[in-house]
């Protein structure tokens, strides 16, 4: 089914999230929507599916105009969205989730859900689109890739013929990405139109028929894939004059001093594991999400109890130390859960930066607001945080700027060990480059860094060696130059 957005303007507060953007999805074709964070990709999807009404412009499905801001009408017209964050009920079965809200009725007055029919239809749908699922499994028992299949089946079950996929590969392991791309191609071959949002040009060029690049709410490039190049798209995404992300030559900064040592350590969902990180070394941790990476990070940060084993910082036993003692000893933590674990959303940038000092967070006395502003301005200037206002509440910043504040807060202290998880997730290319540069500088200054990331390019670009985690244990170790996708992927998912 064709779905088109014409001259959409959507104003959010002081900014134009979409500024006259038009895009057009055609039946049987995959349209890739590319752009930095805040470029308007998600807003475009929200407008297309009727979640928000545009301030001006029109959405047309199969040639007919859709009423603005009417999600029910959009669904009825055949528009289906797989959101970036899954919207499933973990305690319910796959079949119940797929039918939720659209259940066929049976019995007198339609009092009962016809579950047998749901099950039948789900199996038929799964068969037809080659999306294998167990209709009776509970969603909470499924992995990320399976949950995504359930989400896709959910929109197909409602008869969607125009599918909008918001960054569907962000959460997947390399092997799962390939399977998803196959699914997307198959859906298009079946006559559906697909909108595929991604940051990653590899995927875009593997799957798309047409490519549209958004920058600051405007369409800056719209071409058939065959008529454009990766360089052209990359330049359109970031604007002119940016070099692509590349592997820097590594200076030999690794010192012969063990900064962090874990010996047969275990905690909830982790271990026993052993790991040594030297001062000035970056150890990358690869793995499919949910395989113990978070437990590893929280363990080093002092936020998960050490059940067994030895934890040493600079040779000193620290297994019994809590988060305050660890932070005083120079342990820094940049959690993947930026707003929930890393930053206090309702507090200002200045207050967040100041609280990064354990002497302030865990003691009594005056909160020196002038000093807080001074430290915040240092972080803002160093990393180019926007808005450059130390008293702006953190929740008002974009994801990339929050990440700059978070990493800047930790690096502003004299660190010995830094645990950093997904430092550039959901962050645009410009900010990602600044964050990578900051990590390289910290490494050169002798900080031992544990880098947890699902971006294999990032791991290869920054790490001195890469360890792979699966089911709470280290299952392999590779040098960056031997860590090709295939080898990493095999270790991550437990292949040969």
């Amino acid at each position: 089914m064709d779905l088109s957005l014409s001259s959409i303007v959507r104003i959010c507060g002081a900014t134009r999230a979409l500024d006259g953007a038009s895009l057009s999805m055609r039946a049987g074709r995959v349209l890739a929507l590319v752009g930095e964070n805040g470029a308007g990709k998600t807003t475009a999807i929200h407008v297309a599916c009727g979640l928000v009404a545009p301030d001006s412009g029109e959405v047309r499905a199969a040639g007919r105009s859709l009423p603005p801001g009417d999600a029910a009408a959009a669904i009825a017209a055949g528009v289906g969205v797989v959101h970036q964050h899954f919207m499933l009920v973990p305690a319910m079965s796959v079949a119940d989730n797929i039918a939720l809200g659209a259940e066929p009725r049976t019995g007198p007055l339609g009092l009962f859900v016809d579950r047998a029919r749901v099950r039948r239809e789900v199996l038929a749908l799964a068969e037809r689109h080659a999306l294998p699922v167990d209709p009776d499994a509970r969603v909470e028992s499924l992995g990320v890739g399976e949950r995504q299949r359930v989400e896709i089946l959910k929109v197909l079950y409602r008869g969607a013929r125009a599918l909008l996929l918001d960054e569907p590969t962000a959460v997947l392991a390399p092997g799962e990405v390939d399977a998803l791309l196959d699914t997307v191609r198959a859906l298009a071959a079946d006559g559906a139109s697909v909108l595929f949002v991604s940051h990653k040009l590899d995927e875009v060029f593997a799957v798309a028929d047409d490519i549209v690049v958004l920058r600051r709410g405007r369409v800056v490039l719209a071409k058939a894939r065959a008529d454009t190049t990766r360089d052209e798209v990359a330049n359109a995404v970031v604007g002119e004059g940016h070099a692509p992300l590349e592997v820097h030559a590594r200076a030999a900064s690794v010192e012969a001093r063990v900064a962090l040592e874990l010996q047969n350590v275990s905690t909830e969902g982790l271990g026993p594991i052993s790991l040594r990180v030297m001062a000035g070394e970056v150890v990358g941790v690869a793995g499919v999400e949910g395989n113990g990476q978070r437990a590893l990070a929280e363990l080093i940060a002092g936020l998960a109890p050490v059940r067994a084993g030895v934890v040493r910082f600079d040779g000193r036993d620290a297994a019994g130390e809590g988060v305050v003692a660890r932070r005083r000893a120079g342990i820094g933590y940049v959690p993947e859960d930026r707003e929930g674990r890393g930053l206090v959303g309702e507090l200002s940038v200045a207050e967040n930066v100041m609280l990064g000092d354990p002497e302030v967070a865990a003691s009594e006395g005056r909160f020196d607001r002038a000093e807080a502003a001074r430290r915040a301005v240092a972080v803002i200037d160093r990393y180019g945080v926007r808005p450059a206002d130390p008293w702006a509440p953190v929740h008002s910043l974009s994801g990339g700027n929050q990440q700059k504040v978070l990493l800047g807060r930790e690096l502003a202290r004299s660190l010995k060990v830094l645990v950093v998880a997904q430092p550039t997730r959901g962050v645009d290319l410009g900010a990602a480059r600044a964050l990578h540069e900051a990590l390289r500088e910290a490494r050169a200054a002798g900080v031992a860094i544990v880098l947890i990331s699902s971006e294999l390019d990032e791991l290869r670009a920054l790490s001195d060696r890469i360890v792979v985690m699966r089911r709470g244990a280290f299952v392999g170790e590779l040098r960056p130059d031997e860590a090709v996708d295939a080898r990493l992927g095999a270790l991550m998912v437990g292949g040969s």
Binding site: G340, G345, L355, P358, A361
Partner: protein, 341 residues
Amino acid sequence: MRAAIPTRAAVVAAAAVLLTLNVAVWASGDAPASVLMLAARGAFGSGYGLAQTLAKATPLVWTGAAVAFALRARLFNIGAEGQCLAGVLATAVVGAALPSSTPWVIAAPLCLAAAAFGGASLGGFAGWMRARLGTHEVISTLMLNGLVAVLTTWLYAGPLRVGAQVHTRPVVDGARLSHLDLAVHAFRGSALNTSLALAVIATVVAHLYLTHMRGGVAIRALGSSPRAAEALGVSTASTTVRAMTISGALAGLAGTHYVLGVKGYAEQGLGTGVGFTGVAVAMLGAGSPWAIVAAAVLFGAMAQGGLAVNARVPSDVLSVAQAAVILAVAAVRANSRQERP
């Protein structure tokens, strides 16, 4: 967006009062306009009326500030009621125990401290239960409310009774707070006293504490993102206890209005209800000390206005209006939360 909420809440609150009053007065068979005028004149139309409105607002400033303070740590201190009663008891006992010649520079601070201590001990206990045992503060403070109500009833009717009178011995003269009608002649006969000034100052100080002291910033951090606060090394337990202790102290200080300001002694029923109304004041005025004071004055005016029209319509009409304010403001807040991206 966030700054607009108090303004919007105020407009909605005023509209809710006017609308419900009109309907309720009309339903009880009287002319709305004239009754409303009478109520307004009763609350604001004379020096005495205005002073009485402010006097009724005084304990609500204390309890409103108390509930709002705990809310900053995302703790719902529904025990301001019991903490206020504990403050009444503590200040009356200490005030009466002092030698009669105690000068005011000693007596007044001691009695204020006693009121704060009475409320703080209850609030702090509820905070400790939350931090150490995981007992939700709504449950524990609600239970403590009942406990304190029964305890004070028994004390005032039994051990602390003075002869045939069902109240405590009077506090020493040095502990009494001045009535403002000494300074402003128009306030003559009203119960308005310096506890109001103390309440306003305390509300502002409590607000500044949240931004200018490490303990206060920790309270806001815990209220906003408990997991981030934990990762920064903020102690969840001690911050919870601290927030509830300070909140309890503010609620307990409401007792100074009754014991040191109005009555000079404690008796059964003194301070009853202001804790719960304080929850409404905090809902209406959350976020700004001046909004809390304004909300307390609004509720004080409704109480005083209700007395003025009591001869023509039941004073329950004003209770209905109060309830309408709370519902309307809750709806506005819920709505603006949804709109936040």
